[in-house]
């Protein structure tokens, strides 16, 4: 028998002990809640405040730093932004009347506990965020990070996470067009599962989450609410249990939610039909913190109060308490605000799609969020104090004591290979887990569904056609090298930005906006907060230099195993626009007869944080490659111009593994050989990771025109070889030849050998 803790009860029992610590609230936070309410909170109020004031929902440790993104965004950068930080997802005007919304989110901790469902619901959550903006979700991407590829636990975690991403996304009908798979020992007890979704809508169809207009109805629709994903709130349930009544222990469900992609697919189509009928005033997805979050955020962003009849919520478990109903993270649910006169039409659309829809409340005059449970008031709060005025922390920040030593430990002292070892090294590097083909992963993802995919993994960026008439489209890439960020978080974040920017431009699109997913260790560790602060500053300053805004993002803290934090991992996603996807630049060479290979940019001896130092020496130290955003910008302009004028037949970005890896990939993807000549120190030429470089293939007829353009614009370029369809090998002058069959075995064999 569960006793309901009403407001009346709370007033009469002011001194009752409450398990606020178990719910993650600090003493002063609990005191502040009492102060706001003028009494102790009810169970339901405590549940709502504790989830909404959690790090995940309130950004309490990161808020003061994230403000820097908004502060540094100029009006010019903002000119194409229709919605930015603070909304469910950022929205950008891409021309032709189209608006694009995109965002990334983390689902790291659930995916370690329950890899399949953790990853699946991560995809589901970000897709609903995009849907809540009024857009049709069009594609997903998944940046993933794991412990060492050969570690036993990686064999447990990776196949489950990949199957979860695929299982949910495939059944939902969204193409997976890219992402990352990175292995590093620091992720062994804390894999990273980030999910990005992109959607499109007509500019005039943008929906923002707010509940305006007294008398409007609040509708909960989608799946039923159950005991899954309740997390810490189950503490409340057990506290209010009367064991002596013989009820016994109630069955607890795992705190990781269980996804149902079919329900989400139907929910998407249902929502889009509702949007088309223009019968939605405001809409909010239910994600982390469930109804607690949706009702308080809708009410907080609106111009009135809200009354919710919580007992009307359709349940799939019996005996749930109000606190549990509020905090359940059951998936595939949305909350809409609808004018009373549109209610019937709304319900008819839901009925057509067999979606359960329930009127659970209404927008009221006044400024309180009131929730009743069988006519008794169990929650009565000012919604802004829950959703927007949570605690804010200025956590201590301190540059790690060993940062200087780390930077002083340069790779200069590492033994370099002799020239006659380089050919083997090309193969060894291509087979190393971080550089090896990710086909084993990506072939479990549907990249074709909806028929708009123009490029997908292993292309430098994913590209989808948005408009079938004009062929306008977008390109997206996510990147981050955590080792660079460890050596210098400010530069590391900029390098992530630079790489994503370059990847987008390499396919012929113009970069226009940025999102991020900032994965870090514990914010209570001053060294981690230093990394975080540095990364935010680096990313924001980099965006100013490139002239593209951060439109939104996500912060994930507490990614660590014991006292060991993960490599700081500020994953950066860049969105690009291409006015005609038919001019996209592919990755593989050999599309045209007679191509010259040119290396754009400059190569320096830069091995700090490099893949070579990691694979061959297990070394991490020194400084990451130099950042040069002005050069990245110029390079991007040259690539887009080259694509526009049909001068480029292929292009591939140089990043981890340097020129050697770019050559291997461009040959294997294009299924043709090449003859390459190096200048200067061969090892540096092949494996240095200097940035702002791209390998391009130019049809011989366009060579002069293209190189003249590079010279005129001041972009360094050098001829490094020719495509040779006859040779079926990668031949490097003075070093020898690597047959493509051997290279393919090396590049494609690694992951199947580990995970099949």
């Amino acid at each position: 028998m569960v006793k309901t803790d009403t407001v009346k009860n709370a007033e009469s029992t002011p001194d009752q002990d409450q398990p606020y610590k178990e719910l993650g609230l600090k003493d002063d936070e609990y005191a502040r809640i009492k102060d706001i309410l003028g009494r102790r909170p009810t169970d339901a109020e405590l549940a709502m405040y504790s989830v909404m004031w959690s790090e995940h929902c309130s950004y309490k440790s990161s808020k003061v730093h994230l403000k820097y993104f908004t502060d540094t965004t100029t009006d010019e950068m903002r000119s194409k932004m229709l919605a930015g930080i603070g909304e469910n997802a950022g929205v950008v005007d891409i021309g032709d009347g189209w608006a694009i919304t995109f965002k990334a989110e983390s689902h790291n901790h659930p995916s370690y506990v329950e890899p399949y469902q953790g990853a699946a619901t991560g995809v589901g959550g970000i897709v609903r965020d995009i849907l809540a903006m009024g857009a049709r979700p069009l594609a997903v991407m998944d940046p993933l990070r794991f412990g060492p590829a050969d570690a036993p636990d990686t064999r447990r975690v990776l196949p489950g996470i990949v199957a979860g991403v695929g299982g949910y996304g495939n059944c939902l009908g969204l193409p997976n067009i890219g992402g990352e798979v990175v292995f590093d020992a620091t992720y062994a007890g804390n894999p990273l599962v980030n999910a990005l979704c992109v959607g499109a809508m007509r500019v005039e169809d943008l929906h923002l989450a707010h509940a305006s207009g007294a008398g409007n109805k609040v509708i909960l629709f989608g799946a039923r609410t159950g005991l899954d994903g309740i997390g810490g709130v189950s503490v409340l349930a057990s506290e209010t249990f009367d064991d002596s009544a013989g009820a016994g222990k109630r069955k607890k469900l795992p705190s990781v939610q269980v996804g149902d992609p079919f329900t989400e697919k139907v929910l998407i189509e249902c929502c889009l039909e509702l949007f088309a009928e223009r019968i939605v005033v405001g809409i909010q997805d239910l994600g982390g913190a469930g109804l607690a979050c949706a009702t308080s955020e809708l009410a907080s962003a609106g111009d009135g109060g809200m009354h919710v009849y919580l007992d009307r919520v359709p349940l799939r478990a019996s005996g749930m308490t109000p606190a549990e109903v509020l905090s359940s993270e059951s998936q595939e649910r949305m909350c809409a605000v609808v004018r009373p006169e549109d209610l019937d039409a709304f319900m008819a659309v839901c009925a057509k799609w067999d979606v359960i829809a329930t009127e659970i409340g209404e927008v009221t005059e006044g400024d309180r969020l009131v929730i009743t449970w069988h006519d008794e008031v169990v929650l009565d709060v000012p919604p802004r104090t829950v959703a927007h005025e949570g605690p804010v922390y200025h956590r201590p920040i301190e540059r790690p004591a060993d940062q200087d030593a780390l930077q002083a430990d340069t790779p200069d002292k590492l033994a370099k290979p002799a020239d006659d070892e380089l050919l083997d090294l090309v193969k060894t590097m291509a087979a190393s887990p971080n550089l090896a083909s990710k086909r084993w992963v990506t072939q479990q993802y549907d990249r074709y569904v909806r028929g708009g995919t123009v490029l997908a993994q292993p292309a430098d960026s994913g590209m989808i056609r948005i408009d079938e008439t004009t062929n306008r489209g977008v390109a997206l890439s996510t990147d981050c090298n955590g080792r660079y960020a460890k050596l210098d978080p400010y530069a590391g974040a900029q390098l992530a930005l630079a790489e994503a920017y370059r990847n987008v431009a390499t396919t012929g699109a113009t970069p226009v906006a940025v999102t991020n997913c900032l994965n870090f260790g514990s914010p209570e560790d001053p060294a981690v907060m230093w990394q975080f602060e540095q990364a935010v500053k680096g990313l924001a300053d980099g965006c100013v230099e490139l002239g593209i805004p951060v439109t939104g993002g996500n912060v994930s803290f507490y990614n660590q195993t014991g006292a060991t934090a993960i490599l700081p991992t500020p994953v950066v996603g860049v969105l690009g626009v291409i006015d005609d996807v038919r001019r996209r630049i592919p990755t593989g060479i050999g599309a045209e007869a007679g191509e010259t290979l040119l290396l754009l940019g400059e190569t320096r001896e830069e091995f700090g944080g490099s893949e070579w130092a990691h694979v061959v020496h297990g070394h991490l130290g020194g400084l990451p490659p130099k950042v040069d955003l002005q050069r990245e910008k110029l390079l991007g302009e040259v690539l887009v111009a080259g694509s526009r004028d049909g001068m480029l037949s292929a292009a591939h970005d140089l990043s981890d593994g340097g020129l050697a890896q770019a050559l291997v990939e461009t040959c294997l993807i294009g299924e043709v050989g090449a003859r390459v000549f190096l200048e200067g120190e061969k090892f540096t030429e092949l494996f240095s990771e200097s940035t702002a470089r791209v390998l391009v293939a130019v049809p011989r007829t366009e060579e002069l025109r293209f190189t003249d353009m590079c010279t005129a614009r001041g972009l360094p370029w050098r001829k490094v070889g020719v495509v040779d369809p006859e040779s079926e090998a990668l031949e490097i002058q003075d070093l020898g030849r690597l047959p493509l069959t051997e290279l393919r075995e090396a590049w494609e064999g690694t992951l199947p050998a580990l995970f099949d």
């Binding site: 495939n170 059944c171 992609p261 079919f262 697919k265 072939q443 479990q444 028929g451 996807v581 038919r582």
Partner: protein
């Protein structure tokens, strides 16, 4: 030339099938799972996806949808019907085609560009191809392993009713490398790979799949 494309809850590739019909010069007509109505179409495509979530067994629930009863009746009168991926599974469950599709032998969902050999170019959906031609189209499925008992396989092989066969490594454990089959009268065809995703080299590996939709337009015009 009106070609119906069915949408069940959980259907995903209906927009792609409709696009392929348009590319071939036909008119795509949306058919809703809950309606006993084929809207006077000349042919029907049962597209890919996860109808009703496919939690029970792929296609097991969709075959009972009102619209499928109409499809079965029309097919018996000779209407051309194409089932792609989940649509193939549904046609098998509805007994318009023999056999069944089971989990891929390696138990993973497989999305890849797949070479197929055209074994039969006399169906309503394959007349545009040369017999023995090889085409490259996407395959994307988790339960694409074609299974049938020995006598059914013998019958299919004996009557030349295997329409497409996988070339190279068998991607999913299908018996006899079977990728697609047809009914005795050559009007109903089901296949696991997705020809509707290979109608334009911009968004697919090739435009090899367009031949199936052009074949249909031919067959209805000449019928």
């Amino acid at each position: 030339m009106r070609v119906g494309v069915i949408t069940f809850p959980g259907t995903l590739d209906d927009v792609d099938a409709a696009r392929a019909v348009r590319y071939a010069g036909g008119e795509a007509v949306s058919l809703w799972h809950a309606d006993h109505d084929l809207k006077n179409v000349d042919a029907v495509i049962v597209p890919g996806g996860f109808s009703y979530g496919d939690y029970l067994r792929c296609g097991a629930i969709a075959r009972f949808a009102p619209v499928m009863q109409e499809v079965v009746d029309a097919a018996k009168k000779g209407m051309p019907v194409l089932g792609i991926c989940n649509g193939f599974q549904i046609l098998c469950e509805a007994h318009l085609l023999p056999g069944a599709l089971i989990r891929n032998h390696k138990l993973h969902f497989v999305c890849r560009d797949q070479w197929l050999k055209v074994e039969n170019n006399e169906t309503a959906w394959t007349s545009r191809y040369d017999k023995g031609a090889e085409i490259l189209v996407p395959l994307k499925s988790g339960e694409g392993g074609y299974q049938a008992d020995r006598s059914t396989l013998d019958e299919l092989e004996g009557e030349g009713r295997v329409v497409f066969r996988y070339v190279g490594e068998n991607p999913n454990g299908s018996r006899n490398d079977i990728a697609g089959i047809t009914s005795a009268n050559g009007r109903v065809v089901g296949l696991m790979p997705h020809p509707e995703h290979a109608i334009d080299a911009l968004t697919g590996p090739t435009d090899d799949g367009l031949g199936m939709f052009l074949s249909l337009v031919d067959s209805v015009v000449t019928a």
